[in-house]
Subunit: 247 residues, 2 copies
DNA sequence: CGTCAGCTTGACTCATCTCAACTAGGGTGG
DNA sequence: CCACCCTAGTTGAGATGAGTCAAGCTGACG
């Protein structure tokens, strides 16, 4: 993150994602769920030295597929969508990043996908060269990175099953449960599922159209499994949603 | 593989995948395209010490999803399918392994997928504990493993695009081109594409039914893009197949 | 208070699936 | 050696889940 400003913003500014009262790694809210958890206190200093605090507005582009990958990121606030486009404009979202998630695991020359902010986003930005050197010095950081990569790979394979072999109802149910689980790990509710992304985003993630997503959620609401609320849904009968998702 | 018998098999047995005349890493045909390429001559000795030569018949199960992951493998001959099953029997193949491919990148406690031999398979089997220790000792082996994992992840994301956003024609065309590229790297032909897997396997890889795969290939043959030959297809007009796949 | 993006809903279409019949090759045992 | 079977593949006819096209609703924002 960017070095702490000399003058702190007032307390009331805290909810604004473009301000933070504490920009040190040690005080980072998402450290426990991030790559950074692999480092001890002294190593955090080395990490902090190469970190830059960056912010994006809703719908702002963070990076583009095939661009030179000169940085990796750790999301600290907000939601990011990662996607690939086909030449004719069809889009597949390959993942959503929530606070604590790392972007750029591959440490490759070019970004393999594009990324933009679904809602206002804050992130730690690490120059690739410096980060790569740090990884070379700390084998257990590499180990952690590798664990994160293989975990991602496993999620990707689960998502292949969903895309290739599940019906629209199953896809939507599994998506909602997946979001519940991810928010839960960040201290969220088991009942209110926040959905900062649009129906089109969900559709492009699930391999459906936005109309099918909308109809499916409406159908779930009609059969009293959930309630559509502002910015998300509220589960009324989680068991039936779990049954639909095949969990 | 099982330790080499004291009496070597005669030369004429060489084509049989259950016999090898040279079972050292140094003489391994797939070393150049494998994880093992990360190791120098002396390190190969350490690897060889924990390797076991194993063989599987066509359709034999190699490992099962959720079983304790007590070994990792490097395929040296034949083709392996990796898949996940839904409780009702629907199957998604998450990948095919060809000679040189590594299975068990995750180094996790349980296998995240099942694997079986599409055709007779030979592989190097490494006990997980021993392999993991070796990785701990050799950071550049871990680096190589991480590169392999992120490469896999990138392929998985490409496959998500295919599963979520491509038509049957595009899926089949992209699959055939992908197999051509993989065989090419192993010294295969640019014109004859070997397809050791069944139509059902291809369908479960592409998120289609076997009938749709068969019809699509027949359609390509009818429009003179390719010829169906025993064990595969022969490209007649690769440019049109590439155009279909959007490449 | 008009505009616009996001969302919902309806009517109809169509790509792919389902069900079913048939063919071809390979292996086995009488 | 051939009759049988079994697996894999092909093809057709009809069904259907999800897509397309279109209209209208709603809430946020200038």
């Amino acid at each position: 993150m960017a070095p702490q400003e000399a003058t702190k913003p007032p307390e009331w500014a805290a909810p604004c994602p473009h301000e933070r009262t504490d920009t040190t790694c040690a005080g980072c809210k998402v450290r426990g769920v991030s790559i950074c958890a692999a480092l001890d206190a002294s190593e955090l200093g080395a990490l902090e030295a190469i970190a830059e605090d960056v912010h994006y507005d809703a719908r702002e582009t963070i990076l583009l597929q095939d661009d030179a990958a000169d940085a990796v990121y750790n999301v600290t606030q907000g939601t990011v969508r990662l996607y690939k486009l086909l030449p004719d404009g069809r889009r597949q979202i390959v993942g959503f990043l929530l606070p604590g998630d790392f972007m750029g695991l591959a440490l490759s020359d070019r970004y393999p996908f594009s990324a933009d902010a679904v809602e206002p986003v804050a992130a730690c930005r690490f120059a690739r060269g410096a980060f790569s050197s740090l990884v070379d010095e700390k084998p257990h950081l590499l180990r952690r990175l590798h664990e994160a990569a293989t975990h991602e790979l496993s999620l990707a394979q689960d998502h292949m099953v969903l895309l290739g072999r599940r019906t629209a109802d199953e896809k939507v149910a599994a998506f909602l449960l997946g979001m519940r689980e991810r928010w839960r790990r960040l201290g969220g509710s088991l009942v209110i599922i926040l959905l900062p992304m649009t129906r089109q985003d969900i559709a492009d993630y699930l391999g459906l159209t936005l109309e099918t997503v909308s109809r499916t959620i409406s159908k779930f609401a009609r059969s009293r499994m959930l309630l559509v609320v502002p910015d998300g849904v509220r589960f009324l009968d989680p068991a039936r949603i779990e049954a639909l998702a095949g969990h």
